[in-house]
């Protein structure tokens, strides 16, 4: 299948309108008069203001690609006398006029939104509603606003092709898509080769695994089983948990396997996660809401890692400090309110969280919590054997013994890890020898879990680590020693040469002290 970007690359049917975004231009007036007070659009305009937008370009566009499919599906679902309008808005960080539009570059593009109006007769009533079919806005430039694996989306504006960087935001319309559909499209559009997915395909898949006793109506949302079918169809691995279901057998499930760890690990691995929750208050409905997460913030001054609250226990006497302790907020979309929100990591009450999904790369057999548990087991078993002649290994041993080690897991292609290993410098400015990189290039599997380890005084402020444990992501974790490939410590590597006798070999490394953690910000 080829790329599914025709709806973004379609030529306009109207001459582009250029609006000077500076005062007295009113975002409120524009949204109220042209888009029927569409609430979520205010968020797009607010983002544009935050990036000091100078110009708004507005174009009417015809349906193409997956929007044509959507219109056909809406008609088949019962919208009669259909009328659909499409408008493409784009926000620019420079003054744009007809005279200089040809000079625009990708870096001038703050973001774009495709707005769709669906009108007709629906279930006996008049239906006429705007929604954001999709929008992409760049992330804030702040270094501690982390977005591993930023998406790239080709879009035509004023008859020129541009690339927008960010994560696709989409909104439900009450006809052929609900929150679950749009949350899946947000995350999967970054991961599939076609750069997008079609709602009609999602609904065909959902219909196939729908309870046959009732008619499947997309506006009523998706079940867990339907979400799972869709992920399996696109060959996206995942680990999920229904907290309500599992708490029947394991009452402490929300504490044992907290939702934040599912999300954080998916985010760090560049694939993201989904959070399903019930709502309190006057707007609460019977069904749950689900939203996608794809990034996080990092606050080096967070106090929590020194307190017991940040400690994560695996069993009664085994624990560590997870790196997400320094995460203040997750970055995600809420289709009801708009794109690119910071949602405080602990804001959603665990009792309201019903479902969490950590997405995995294709073929990966276990999630980030398991990777951290495997690494922890190894570190705790190894520490008596650490090199007493190495200052940094001695410091590591002391922190491991006190169970004060910091762990950070993410799953990446081996090529990405090797590039990181090639670039890092220890505190004395040493780099790794080429021969070691060559050896690893031949021997590492295609996808690996990297579990970085550090100590609390080094990780947050300096963003540096003492080493990492590399695990084969595509083998079963049930035998704890099978996934292990190599551990890099200050001064040497450890490899497991005999699984039966648990014999390890120590190999010299040129990196003698701490090095920078891996940064995945695009």
């Amino acid at each position: 299948m080829g790329e599914m970007q025709a709806h973004r690359l379609v030529e306009p049917v109207s001459t582009p309108e250029f609006f000077d975004f500076a005062p007295p231009f009113s975002c409120f007036d524009h949204i109220d008069t042209r888009f029927a007070c569409l609430s979520s659009l205010h968020r797009c305009f607010s983002l544009a203001r935050s990036f000091d937008a100078q110009t708004l370009i507005q174009e009417a566009i015809p349906p193409d690609g997956i929007i044509v499919q959507e219109n056909e599906e809406i008609a088949s679902l019962g919208l009669t006398g259909c009328r659909h309008d499409l408008v493409r808005l784009s926000f620019w960080n420079t003054r744009v006029t007809v005279a200089n539009v040809s000079a625009l570059k990708d870096e001038n593009l703050i973001g774009y939104a495709i707005l769709k109006r669906d009108a007709g007769e629906w279930e006996g009533d008049r239906f006429d509603r705007w929604h954001i079919f999709e929008a992409v806005f760049r992330k804030y430039m702040h270094a501690h606003n982390c977005l591993p694996n930023t998406g790239s989306y080709s879009v035509r504006i004023a008859n020129r092709k541009f690339t927008a960087h960010g994560v696709l935001y989409c909104q439900q319309n009450g006809l052929n898509k609900a929150c679950a559909h749009v949350a899946l499209r947000s995350l999967l559009s970054r991961l599939v080769l076609e750069h997008d997915i079609s709602y009609s395909v999602l609904n065909t898949l959902a219909r196939k695994c729908h309870d046959k006793a009732t008619r499947y109506l997309p506006k009523n949302g998706l079940t867990v089983q339907q979400i799972r079918c869709i992920l399996q169809y696109y060959k996206i691995g995942f680990r999920d948990v229904d907290y309500a279901e599992r708490s029947l057998k394991e009452p402490d499930i929300r504490k044992t396997y907290p939702y934040q760890k599912y999300l954080y690990s998916g985010i760090e691995s560049g694939v993201g996660g989904l959070l399903g929750f019930s709502m309190d208050g006057p707007q609460a409905t019977e069904g749950c809401h689900i939203i996608p997460f794809y990034g996080h913030t990092f606050n080096k001054d967070t106090w929590a890692p020194d307190a017991d609250a940040s400690y994560f226990n695996i069993g009664a006497n085994v624990g560590y400090i997870p790196s997400e302790s320094w995460t203040s907020s997750f970055l995600g979309h809420d289709d009801n309110f708009g794109p690119n929100f910071c949602i405080p990591r602990l804001y959603v009450n665990p009792e309201n969280v019903q479902y969490a999904v950590e997405l995995l790369r294709n073929g990966v057999q276990y999630n980030g919590m398991v990777a951290e548990a495997l690494a922890l087991q190894l570190l705790y078993s190894l520490y008596p054997h650490l090199d007493a002649n190495s200052t940094w290994q001695k410091r590591l041993a002391r922190h491991v013994q006190e169970q004060k080690v910091v762990l950070r897991a993410f799953c990446i292609p081996q090529t990405q890890y090797l590039e990181h290993l090639r670039l890092i410098h220890d505190w004395e400015n040493n780099t790794e020898r080429t021969e070691m990189l060559d050896t690893l290039r031949y021997t590492l599997p295609p996808v690996v879990w990297v579990v970085e380890f550090s100590i609390p005084q080094l990780f947050p402020a300096n963003e540096r680590k003492l080493g990492e444990i590399i695990l084969d992501a595509c083998c079963s974790p049930y035998d704890l020693f099978t996934p292990f490939i190599i551990a890099r410590l200050p001064g040497n590597y450890l490899v497991l040469t005999d699984k039966k006798s648990l014999s390890y070999e120590r190999i010299a490394s040129h990196l003698q002290s701490h090095v920078e953690v891996m940064r995945q910000n695009d």
Binding site: E245, T443, L444, S503, Y504, R506, I507, A508
Partner: protein, 60 residues
């Protein structure tokens, strides 16, 4: 490149020996700790994942 052993870890050790000789490779044995706790933790995640197949949740 020809390596005769199976796991990536063993391959790395063998390749390293080939390139640099045995004198840079030192062997030691480890007594594994916390195997029971970590195994139970890993199984718990897989059990929760399997149980989600019986979910009654709907997201709309």
């Amino acid at each position: 490149m020809s390596v005769t052993c199976s796991s990536p870890s063993q391959k790395i050790a063998a390749e390293f020996r080939k390139r640099f000789g045995n004198n840079q490779v030192k062997t030691f044995q480890v007594k594994p700790l916390y195997v029971k706790e970590v195994t139970a933790f890993v199984k718990g995640i897989e059990a929760a994942h399997k149980a989600a197949a019986k979910s009654h949740l709907v997201f709309k």
